[in-house]
Structures are given as C-alpha cells and as structure tokens.
Amino acid sequence: MNIYLDLFLSFMKISFFTIGGGYAMIPLIQSTVTEKGWMTQDMLINFIGIAESTPGPFSVNISTFVGYNMGGALGVFCASMGILIPPFIIILFIYYVGKKFATNPYVLGVMSFLRASAIALIFTAFISIAYSTIIISNELTGKPSFNWLGLIIMVLSFLGMRFFKKIHPVFYILISAAIGIVFYGFVL
C-alpha cells in the first residue's frame, strides 16, 4: 500500500478506536507501529518520554513523529489528518445533531465498559514496557540481561509520581535520562 495512505488509515484507525485519549492510545499505537515496522519497541519507549517532555496531545506528537520519519512533510500531514478527522466529524455531528450524546444512558453504559477495557489495555502496555525496561538485550551480542538500574529507576520514579504530585513527570524523565548517560556510559 502507498505509505501516505497507510499512514492516514492507520492513524485514523488508532484515533477512531481510542476513547479516553492520551495514554489510552498507547496500546493501539504500540501494536500498529511495531507491526508495520515504523518504530521499534525501544524507539517507542524513548518517544513516549520525549512526548511527555513536549507540549501537545500525545496522539499528535506520535503521529507527527512517525509521519515525518516515514514520509516527510506529506507524511506528517497524512498522519495528523488521520488523527484529526474521525473525532472531528464525530464532534461536529454531536454539536449539530446529537447534543445529548454525552448524557445518553446507552452511551454512558457502553462507556463504563470501555473504560474498564482501556485500563486493561494500558496495563498491558505497562507490562510490556516494564519488561523492556527490566530485561534488556545487549546492543552487540543480543544477549538478554537483567537491568537492575532500570528497575530501581522505575520504582523510585513511580513512588515519586504517587507521593509528590506537584512535581511534573518531565522531571523524572530528564533525571532518569541523565542517570542513564552517567551510569550506562561511564560507571557500568
């Protein structure tokens, strides 16, 4: 398939099927971009960190990144239009036709189910990212090894996020990136 069409349709699918926004999109993005070979799992994890440190919605950030890498400026356009168009049409429809959408008992009912499965999907994304954090394969030999430092960073930044809510998550991303350079580069 034409890469531009593929970008447009893939991101349209991601956008259409994620309700709740933000991190609820990660599971679908993860399976789409890794299966299509647009990004590796490691690159995606790096990018989640980068996206958290830059302004704007996660979906727009990731669609721009993938779009730019796969098809330059036109790729960015196709991918971000894919992200924008389905919700745009639905919102306009609600605005002009179905104002009571958000309080419709059927919508609320289905929503409470979707919230549950969205949590399940994000939890799975967490498990897969935590796995990539704790078990890393050697760059050259590909031999898997246990990453103690990664586990420690994960636990500490999680506790930090839970107990010091005033600190922006970007802080943890930047600090742990710095720790990564110091330890993996010079100490270990």
Partner: protein, 274 residues
C-alpha cells in the same frame, strides 16, 4: 454594508480563536487533562466565550468520543464560537505547535540516532516511562474503587488476559477486537439493564420501599449526576499543578474555587435531580 461588517468581526473572531488555541497547544505539557484545564482558564474565564457549566459538558463529550480529549474539546469549543470554520481553525491551531516541535525533534533525533549518549539516555528513561504509564493506569482506574458491577470486572479481567496473551505473542490478534467486543457486550448489557430498571420502576407502586439508587438508566437525559459533575470539576482542576509549573503567570486559584464543595450556587443549581 452591515453584512460586510459582520464578516469582518467573524474573521476577527477566527483569528483570535486560532491564536488562543495555538497558545494553548504550545504551552501545555502532558496533553489531555492538563490541556483541558488550561483551556478552561483561557476560554471560559479570560475570554468568556463559554461558561463553566458548558465546559463541564464539553469535558464529558470529549471524554466519551474517540480521539485525543484536548483535540475534541478544541473542536467543540471552536464549533460553539464560530461554526464549522471555527471548529477547523481551533483544532488545527491547537495541533500546530506540537507538530512543529516534533518535526524539529525528529530532525535532532535522526541526527543523533547512532549516538551512544542517546542510547544510554533512552535506557535510563525507560524506567521513568514505565512508571509514567503505571501512574496513568492508577489515575484512570480510580473509578474502579466504587465499581460494583461484576460485568465490568469480568470485562476488565477478560481484556487484560487477552491483551497480555497477545502482547507476549502467545495468541495473535489485534487489540481493536477487544475494544469492539467490549462495545458490543457493553451495549447488550446496558440495553438489558435499562429494560430491567424500567420494569422495576413500573412495579414501584407495589414495592413501597422503592429502589432509589441513583442510576444512569432512569434519569432525565440532559443532566449529569452529582457524582459525574464532581468528577468533571475535579478533572478541570486536576493536574493544575502540572499546568501551572509550566505556565507560572496563570492564576489557578480561580479554578480551585470551582470545586463543587466550595461553590454553593453551582451545587444547588445542579443538586436537585436525583
């Protein structure tokens, strides 16, 4: 002549709309709810384009429709202020800053792609990203504390099992089927639930105790329950700390006062619909 003047104000509004949403897109880190609370401050409090109550409804709609919440909210607010063109302008303007920034980052990323430093930084960052996602799971999962319907828990466990199996490639299928399946099951369950509630309602005369539990099924269609209102208010003030750490000069106190406990008039206005 008069028409011409209207057209002029219309375009002036569009430009103002574009600029406001461009700014919102450029300064809010963390996306989603952080962006919504900045939107509330700028669009509802400063510009007074919409009211606080309208904003609460917009949050409810943006959450229950597909796509990024912040983008959905911009589309809706844009439509409210200037129709179709307004919706287009607002959503594109709020996307534009992150598109530009990410294109810049992509250039840098590709330039340094083979750098050892980037590899080490990425390796260190992984733990924090995993923590970030787990934190998101816990934040989104707050509603489960009060969730008593076994069907919801069944869906949660079933989707978790299926997606974990798929994630470790034990079985092969697309996550989309989990979402589609949930929609179908949710719809069937809700339909039956509503039918049962209706029947119970018609039996109320016989049952003098009555079942007065607040249910989504048997209330007027255009009002949010107190619980939902409170939740949406919290969303608006939620993550205010994140937003304010980015944008120090914006005053968050106003937003905090919007909590339903503090705002009596707001509470009484919406409180009587149980």
């Amino acid at each position: 002549m008069k028409n011409n003047k209207n057209l002029k104000t219309y375009f002036y509004n569009l430009i103002q709309l574009a600029w406001t949403f461009f700014k919102i897109g450029a300064i809010t880190f963390g996306g989603g709810y952080a962006m919504i609370s900045v939107m509330e401050r700028n669009v509802a409090e400063k510009k007074k384009w919409i009211t606080h109550e309208e904003m609460l409804n917009i949050v409810a709609i943006a959450e229950s429709t597909p796509g990024a919440i912040a983008l959905n909210a911009s589309t809706f607010i844009g439509a409210k202020i200037a129709g179709f063109l307004g919706a287009l302008v607002a959503s594109l303007a709020s996307m534009l800053p992150s598109v530009l920034i990410i294109v810049g980052i992509s250039l840098l990323y590709n330039y340094f792609a083979d750098s050892q430093y980037l590899y080490w930084a990425g390796l260190g960052m992984r733990g924090a990203v995993a923590a970030l996602i787990l934190n998101a799971v816990l934040n989104l999962g707050k509603f489960l504390k009060t969730e008593r319907r076994p069907a919801i828990w069944a869906i949660l466990i079933l989707s978790m099992t299926l997606s974990l199996l798929a994630s470790f490639e034990i079985i092969h299928f697309d996550n989309i089927f989990i979402i589609l399946g949930t929609m179908v099951i949710g719809f069937i369950y809700t339909t039956i639930d509503i039918a049962v509630k209706k029947k119970k309602d018609s039996n109320k005369a016989i049952d003098p105790i009555g079942n007065n539990e607040d249910n989504t099924a048997n209330r007027p269609a255009n009002v949010l329950t107190d619980q939902e209102l409170e939740r949406n208010c919290n969303i608006l003030s939620h993550e205010k700390n994140w937003a304010s750490s980015v944008e120090q000069d914006i005053n968050v106190e106003n937003l905090q006062n919007k909590n339903p406990e503090n705002d009596q008039s707001f509470n009484s206005k919406n409180g009587g619909n149980k």
